[in-house]
């Protein structure tokens, strides 16, 4: 069993209105050290596969086909063995 973390974020240059709103509040509160805030989506799930490559292929297919929209978003995948089953 594997545990997958898929992060989906807007591509650079795509307007991220939520991030803009949050950044406005952060700067209003004086957190000037924080820049380039982005808001994305985090998907967590388990994958039943016999080896890592097979698990990765499934996660990548799902990330590309369903979890992200290639016009607006990019994704990153983290995959770990899940020994708790």
């Amino acid at each position: 069993m594997y545990k997958a973390d898929v992060l989906v974020n807007f591509k650079k240059g795509v307007l991220d209105p939520q991030a803009k709103a949050i950044s406005g509040v952060l700067s209003h509160l004086g957190y000037d050290a924080i820049t380039d805030l982005r808001v994305g989506k985090h998907f967590v799930f388990k994958v039943d596969a016999t080896d890592r490559d097979k698990a990765y292929a499934i996660v990548e297919e799902v990330a590309k086909r369903i979890l992200s929209n290639p016009v607006l978003e990019t994704y990153t995948i983290e995959l770990k063995r899940d020994d708790e089953g």
Binding site: L15, P17, K20, I66, V71
Partner: protein, 230 residues
Amino acid sequence: MKVGIVVFPGTNCDRDTFKAFSRLPEVEVEYVWHTFTELFDYDLIVLPGGFSYGDYLRCGALARFSPVMSAVEKYILSKKGYVLGICNGFQILTEAGLLPGALSRNANNRFICEFCDIEIVNYNTPFTRMCEKRVLKLPIAHSDGNYCADASTIYELESEKRVIFRYVENPNGSMNAIAGIMDEEFRILGMMPHPERNCDGVLGNGDGRCVFESIYHELSREVSERDGLR
């Protein structure tokens, strides 16, 4: 002439759309449930507005994988008729890759519900031929109507005259103020404004009617040609 209106869980403009078509003579209108998988015998399929699957994940992203959408894809490939996607229907068509680009969050991050002036950019389409006005007053009601695509897609849409509707005053940040586009064969129209919500004087000035009258005339002509050949 047969029109099919697809109903997903969360669709809410199906009845307005039904009414917009049923006021035209000799039109048979039917609802099509999202689990339908057979090949359609309709002359027009409509994906109406609403919040299919609660707009979860992304607007239209889950509806795009429902069984009926494979039937819609087959219908498009068979070139049997036309497809109209309004608002959430437009979002579903882009998610399915049946129209290019995507509809992202409105630039002001708000749900916008108001009447807009919509310029008809291309009159020579099955959905606009009967329109006489240059600008239609149509309501919009969406959070995600900000049309985005890469530069080459925008260039293609503009140069092939596939931008059919444009906002006079851009409400949501759409590239080139795009409000509605068609596919390269001019059989699929996706638009964010709601013509079905302004088909009656009671609900506005009736500007939306010409969109339905246009496709009605197009189909009447095609149906009579088809019957003439028999």
